[in-house]
């Protein structure tokens, strides 16, 4: 089967090392994961994220519809502000995590993951009956890229007609980038400050505008980064990978996403009753971060054992080397009693047990040194 290509494919083909990522031909790295990771932590990098899902929801019932679909409360959003949320099934399992932006009282821009892109849109469609809302899947008609790092804002500002430095975190703005109409949002998936840039009216079949915007940002200093660095950066920041760290077998209380669930909002939301029941009964496991004390790199699927190494208590949902820290880190779900910081655990790495402990995971790094909250 032919791999799906994004707007930026021509650049990847010339400069990148391309892999099959969920059916998309995406660059895993250009120069190398370590250099790209470092560029984003210390300066500025750019990622093609056009494989992700994005839709427009418009019409008189848009707010009511989205509030029914999502756990977070969109009614408190100001114009041009956005928020992070999850979307649940009836049993309170997480279908996906998403970011919603309010463009007007009856117009919201919705951004979600590549792996769940078709499923999410089908779920919207399945539930939109009865609401006066028009849904448009823009994923193939709008390019998307992320410019991330401590120098990201000034880099985007350099190629934008408008001043973007005042855009609030999770805010959205309508701007002209390299001469083309775009949305920019003050968001990302690296823990760093930066923008996601969406090139409007740019179909995958004629991607010239997107390639020009990409080129202008690269020219302005953003280092092209592949999925390898995207994954190591998001893991260091403790950000979930949908389909792996969170999925329909996990509820928001287990995932420590209680803060995006608004039980009291008007009209409720899909999965609310199930989640209230779960809350009453109490969850048996919660997400934790593990930092390696001994040598070894934890990986997705590896077993986590108690400190004595006698009992398997969970498994790694995401793991890897944290390039900024120099040791292995992991996310996983462990029974209550293993969530206190400093609790020793073991990870089975091939034939041996490697020592780790529960650490702060959101983010894993010191946020006064790295990330958007850093001391500048």
């Amino acid at each position: 089967m032919d791999l799906r290509k994004t707007h930026i494919y021509a650049f990847h083909e010339e400069h990148g090392n391309i892999v099959d990522f969920g059916g998309f031909a995406m660059p895993v790295w250009y120069e190398g994961v370590m250099a790209e990771h470092a560029a984003v932590r210390n300066s500025v990098g750019i990622f093609d994220t056009s494989h992700m899902g994005r839709s427009m929801a418009e019409g008189p019932d848009t707010l009511e519809f989205l509030n029914w679909m999502m756990t977070n409360d969109m009614s408190r959003l100001g114009q041009f502000d956005g928020l992070y949320t999850v979307m649940l099934n009836q049993e309170a399992g997480i279908i996906d995590d998403l970011i919603l932006y309010k463009l007007g009282p009856e117009r919201f821009f919705v951004v979600y993951n590549s792996g769940t892109r078709e499923k999410d849109f089908a779920w919207f469609k399945e539930h939109v009956g009865g609401f006066d809302v028009e849904l448009t899947d823009l994923s193939d008609d709008m390019a998307m890229m992320a410019v991330q790092g401590p120098k990201a804002v000034e880099t985007v500002d350099e190629v934008t007609d408008e001043d973007v430095t005042g855009v609030r975190r999770f805010g959205i703005a309508d701007v002209t980038v390299a001469g083309y109409p775009c949305f920019v949002t003050r968001t990302g998936y690296t823990g760093e400050d930066g923008f996601e840039v969406y090139v409007k009216d740019c179909p995958v079949r004629s991607p010239d505008k997107a390639l020009e915007v990409w080129g202008a940002l690269v020219e302005a200093g953003a280092k092209p980064c592949g999925l390898g660095a995207r994954d190591s950066l998001r893991l260091e920041a403790g950000l979930n990978l949908s389909g792996q760290d969170i999925h329909e077998g996990i509820n928001p209380l287990e995932a420590k996403l209680r803060w995006v669930v608004k039980f009291k909002k008007e009209g409720g939301f899909i999965g609310r009753e199930a989640l209230l029941r779960i809350r009453e009964e109490g969850v048996e496991r919660t997400q934790v971060g593990v930092g390696m004390v001994g040598r070894g790199i934890p990986r997705h699927g590896y077993e986590i054992l108690d400190g004595s190494g006698e009992e398997v208590i969970g498994e790694v949902t995401s793991g890897g080397l944290a390039p900024s820290l120099g040791y292995g880190i992991a996310l996983g779900y462990l029974p209550r009693g293993f969530s206190e910081l400093g609790t020793p655990v073991m990870i089975r790495i091939r034939k041996r047990l490697a020592e780790g402990k529960i650490v702060k995971s959101h983010p894993f790094y010191d946020d006064s040194v790295y990330g958007w909250k850093r001391d500048s």
Binding site: N17, V28, W29, G32, V33, M34, H37, G228, D231, S232, R295, G296, I297, R299, G320, L321, P323, I349, R350
Partner: protein, 141 residues
């Protein structure tokens, strides 16, 4: 095949070594011990190697048994021993400098040294440089 020709040009395949289909090499030393490592192709596929897991001296390897691993940020690759035998030395430099495998896969990036237990039998099942070059031509690029 034009493409195959280009590929063998891209990867260094020294003469005199013995190769596995999984991209390990073995070099028989004058004293009868065997040095093992991974090929230029293997290190280029993994790209930046950030972690190497070594066996311990005294461990026994079966031919093509997994004896450790090499890892990049993104990927894990098992290390198989091209020959059976007992480890008499491991390259501990790789613990602190795994990048040696990238820089010098046939030299400073060697993996371990074995006292072979069935050298002739094992060598008969390994490829010479010409056969390994041919094998590389059939790898996915």
């Amino acid at each position: 095949m034009e493409e195959g020709f280009v590929m063998s040009e891209e990867y260094e395949v020294p003469e005199g070594l013995h190769y596995t289909e999984e991209h390990e090499w073995a070099r028989v030393l004058d004293d009868g011990t065997v040095l093992i490592g991974v090929t230029d192709y293997a290190q280029k596929q993994l790209h930046e190697i950030v972690y190497v897991e070594l066996p311990e001296v005294g461990d026994v390897a079966e031919r093509m048994g997994i004896v450790g691993a090499l890892e990049s940020v993104k990927a894990v690759s098992d290390m198989n021993s091209p020959v059976s035998g007992e480890f008499v030395e491991v390259n501990e430099e790789l613990l602190d400098s795994p990048e040696l495998v990238n820089e010098s896969p046939y030299g400073d990036g060697w993996y371990a040294k074995l006292k072979p237990s069935d050298l002739d039998g094992d060598l008969a099942r390994l490829m010479d440089a010409a056969a390994y070059r041919e094998h590389l031509e059939h790898q996915e690029h």
